[in-house]
Amino acid sequence: MNKHYLYALLAVIVLFFVAYVGAEVFGLRIIFGVLIPYLAVIVFIAGFIYKVMGWARSAVPFRIPTTCGQQKSLPWIQPNKIDCPNSTGAVVIRMILEVCCFRSLFRNTKMSLEEGDKLTYRWEIWLWVFALAFHYSFLVVILRHFRLFTEPVPFFIQLLEKVDGFFRIEVLYDTIQTGLPGVFLSGLVLLAAVTFLLLRRILLPQMRYISLAADYFPLFLIFGIAFTGILMRYFTKIDVTAAKSLAMGLVTFHPTAPKGIGGIFYAHLFFVSILLAYFPFSKLMHFAGVFLSPTRNLTTNTREKRHENPWNYPVPVHTYDEYEDEFREKMVEAGLPVDKPFEKPPETLSDEKADSSA
């Protein structure tokens, strides 16, 4: 048993009950419906800015991009413009592909030993597929939720819902079929992807070895968010109008915490609040950090254009004069040119000394 994922799971379960019991039993709807969400958003925004500013404050002393393709050198050699970007425009393309398509992860391979002695590397696509599915379905889910924060609901949100909901499951059992709302693909994909990413960490020994509690916690939390969301939409059926009035209240700064939306909703909202507040202090900041990564976001024309180092301080060096002073006699004897003429010291004794020390 691994304490890392057990603690993370336990933490998420505790958080669920805190919100569920707090809202349902103690009726602390203002706390869970208004105060905590506001607090979470403030922490998220302030923490996010603080972290990014912290990174921005650190210098970029050298241009150290990882070159993943042919450089631009001689005119007749075809450079790889994207993987070895020579210009700012090319860097932008590299970054878009990195941020939107996870290009580097797409390269992933898996090493194995075949026939006893052949190391082989196979293209390993699944991590990329599920990472992409996870991030994009999460994005769609978030955007869809803007229905709750906007009045009237903007056109593109409605369109997104249509596209996301075009996938309908025909359920043949009468009891379930009645009143079943359109199925949103994104929610299900999110749940499936987060499950894959979790199981991967828990089941593969190598992944379990490198995983910290901080890796399991957000996955369990997001699982919890997706799970409670799906539960509400398809099974427990919450009062959407009430939920919307709460959400609208939050964004218009006239907060209300209406009755009729149960504990599951507050657990869902609490999970989201925790995720927001946790975000700036965690690895989730890779969302912002990827844009600033110096091995990806700098041009590779380092010999063509000089890069300035803001703290480039002078260092002690061994000058040519010092070098020649030490070796002048030997250089002259070997016929090497010297800057200052060599004068034989008057005493031969010092000569021997110099030789033995060398």
């Binding site: 972290k51 990174w55 404050r57 650190s58 210098a59 970029v60 002393p61 150290i64 990882t66 070159t67 993943c68 393709g69 042919q70 450089q71 001689l74 050699i77 993987d83 580097s104 992860l105 992933n108 391979t109 030993l113 006893g116 002695d117 190391l119 590397y121 991590l127 990472a131 190598q206 379990r208 070895y209 490198i210 995983s211 910290l212 509690a213 890796d215 202090f281 690895k283 890779h286 950090g289 990827v290 600033l292 990564s293 091995t295 010999r303 063509e304 254009k305 000089r306 260092v315 060096v317 061994h318 040519y320 030490e326 070796f327 030997k330 250089m331 090497l336 040119p337 800057d339 060398a358």
Partner: protein, 551 residues
Amino acid sequence: MSDLPKPEEMLKTDRRPSATGWMDTPVEIKKGIACYAGNPKSLEYVGLPNPRTWSCFDEDWQLPENWQEIIHEGLKERLERFRSFKIFMDICVRCGACADKCHFFIGTGDPKNMPVIRAELIRSVYRNDFTKAGKILGSLGGGRKMTMDVLKEWWSYFFQCTECRRCSVFCPYGIDTAEITIMGRELLNLIGLNIDWIATPVANCYRTGNHLGIQPHAFKDMIDFFVDDIEEVTGLKLEPQFNKKGADILFITPSGDVFADPGTYTTMGYLMLFHFLKEKYGLDVTWSTYASEGGNFGFFTSHEMMKRLNSKMYAEAKRLGVKWILGGECGHMWRVIHQYMDTMNGPADFLEEPVNPITGTKFENARSTKMVHIAEFTADLIKHGKLDLDPSRNDHLRVTFHDSCNPARGMGLLDEPRYVINKVCNNFYEMPANTIREQTFCCGSGAGLNAGENMELRMAGGMPRANAVKYVHEKYGVNMLACICAIDRAALPAMTEYWIPEVDVTGVHEMVGNALILPGEQKRETDLRLEPLPGVEAETEDEAKEEEADE
């Protein structure tokens, strides 16, 4: 090498991680893996902290009393100076994509050699020292205090990384373990923890200009030996120039190639190329004894030491009044030149924008740094038909090319050497796609780990490279591994001898030297290694037979 496990055993290394977590598994510093400590005299010569005689196998490492404070302050300073370091401390999600990309993990199976864990060794201390969550949550939050055990772990694993950057190609955020290791080694150096295979070359470079400590007269002597060998092969007496003021070009290459086979043959190739260009086109190239080292072992010590050693290149170019600098085949030397030199020691406004006077080609990609890679230079000459070449003189070679890590992933120099190879030899075969170009595997001995006492580590680290060489050896009969790195030429022969003895190692310019037809040369009967050219032998036999028949 008697303690070295057999290749078959090494291949079957268990790569499953231990059941206990990495933080709970104490470090074990092993013979065959660890390198010897830096010689105090070398540390003293360049003013590195805490010079003393010590050994990593000792219980007491004789550290300054406040070493934890020094590390903490050093960490803080580097987080401010390097955005790369700060971001790489914060954003890793431990997705595991880097794990099996590292040659040391593949070779040793030691889970702490997974790049992600190597970085976590510092990250754990960073979280404890610099983040609130890490401090409050302790090991649960992935943080831990800096203790002697942690320090020993740092020392062990930052000297089990060759800064090859292969993992950074696959990392979705571009996290570069080389950057982590560079910082780790800088921090270790603050309290006097270095290895001798780095510290002594650093001191030597500083004093004599090259990492072997060759003094100027001896450097010239060594080149003169090659001149004699070339005379034996070609019948021509070359006259290389040293420290010549007013030459067109200053040539700087790693001194390892002046010292040990098979790098020496590459040096002979350079000498012949420069002779050819002087005779035919009047190009004036000079060597320098002061800047007689292209490699930069300071890069494996600290940014500051890198700058101190690198300063000689521009200083010498300025003193001699050359137009621009030409650099020989080397790996990390070229990462330093390409990504650091201009920033550290530039601007080189006393030099001209490099133009090849023979072809008229402007090396626009080197416009600011004013240093051109010899593979770019030679490729340009060949493309313009300026070299007289007889590639059949390399017909006894079936060649594959090992991309050196730094030119590949720190520069993007991939097709230039391939073009040259294809023009100077007739049998060239690529290794499998996942082991070349930007995905190339390290020789396993880079970044100062090319010592003798860590042979087990080096052979394990060389396994993925060797395995790919073996593949082309079996499939195409490849018998020569070409490379453009002096460390490769020093390290790969030991690796091939262990893993695949049928394959030898060469520099690209050795093959250029073999193929290059010098004006007025005698008919060549041997290659630069003074081994008879197979075709020529048969020819002379045929001639003898014909003569017999005539009689």
